[in-house]
Symmetry: C2
Subunit: 139 residues, 2 copies
Amino acid sequence: MPSEPIPPELDAFLAEPNMAVIGTLAGDGSPHTAATWYAWEDGRVYVNMEDTRRRLKHIRDDPRVSITVMGADEWYRQVTLRGRVASIEDDPQLEGVDRLARRYTGDAYPRGGGGRVGAWIEVESWYGWAGGQPWSGSD
Amino acid sequence: MPSEPIPPELDAFLAEPNMAVIGTLAGDGSPHTAATWYAWEDGRVYVNMEDTRRRLKHIRDDPRVSITVMGADEWYRQVTLRGRVASIEDDPQLEGVDRLARRYTGDAYPRGGGGRVGAWIEVESWYGWAGGQPWSGSD
């Protein structure tokens, strides 16, 4: 549970298929960032990646992550969620990535790619900006 | 200098006023992300922030950063630059933030806010994606 609850307007913003970037820690402790699809479900963040992605190794080694979500039309509206990966699950039937693909594209994820892995992130703190003003936050 | 030179099409992409998120390291070594304006000048990244921002303390403590830049219309076009903050400069005349504001909004930055600080980032490695395919890269 985040130290300050996420208010309804921010919950609604996170429910939109917005752009996001996830920050993870590389093996040498340096920050690594990558654009990502995400879903906001029951107060947790779901992401999914190819099993060859560097960030999969990163979150297996250190579960600490930070995700910045930006409004598609108006990226001055933004929320950053910081927390930890609570579980990592293989996605052999592509159910997880299909859920994300439908959310962002309206269609199932194309078949024929490599293996996929999903991860659930528990939010520990957050901060947000809207129109140049703080959108409250706990971080 | 990055371990692999940045090709012309990527250089042109970075020159556009695209959306970006910068990843830094918080004091406990955890990743922190924040949306940011940037400029791409002479092969280096320039960012600017209010002097109260957490990420300013982060880069003073540890210069390692990662920036993901996404196409405004088509965020599947993206480049991540990883490297180090090489210099941090106070921006008392707001020249630095004005340059960024003009790039993104067409106007000078509004007066009356807090102090601003600029930072130059030297790129050590990068990777990119375009249309679901790797855009080459050195990372």
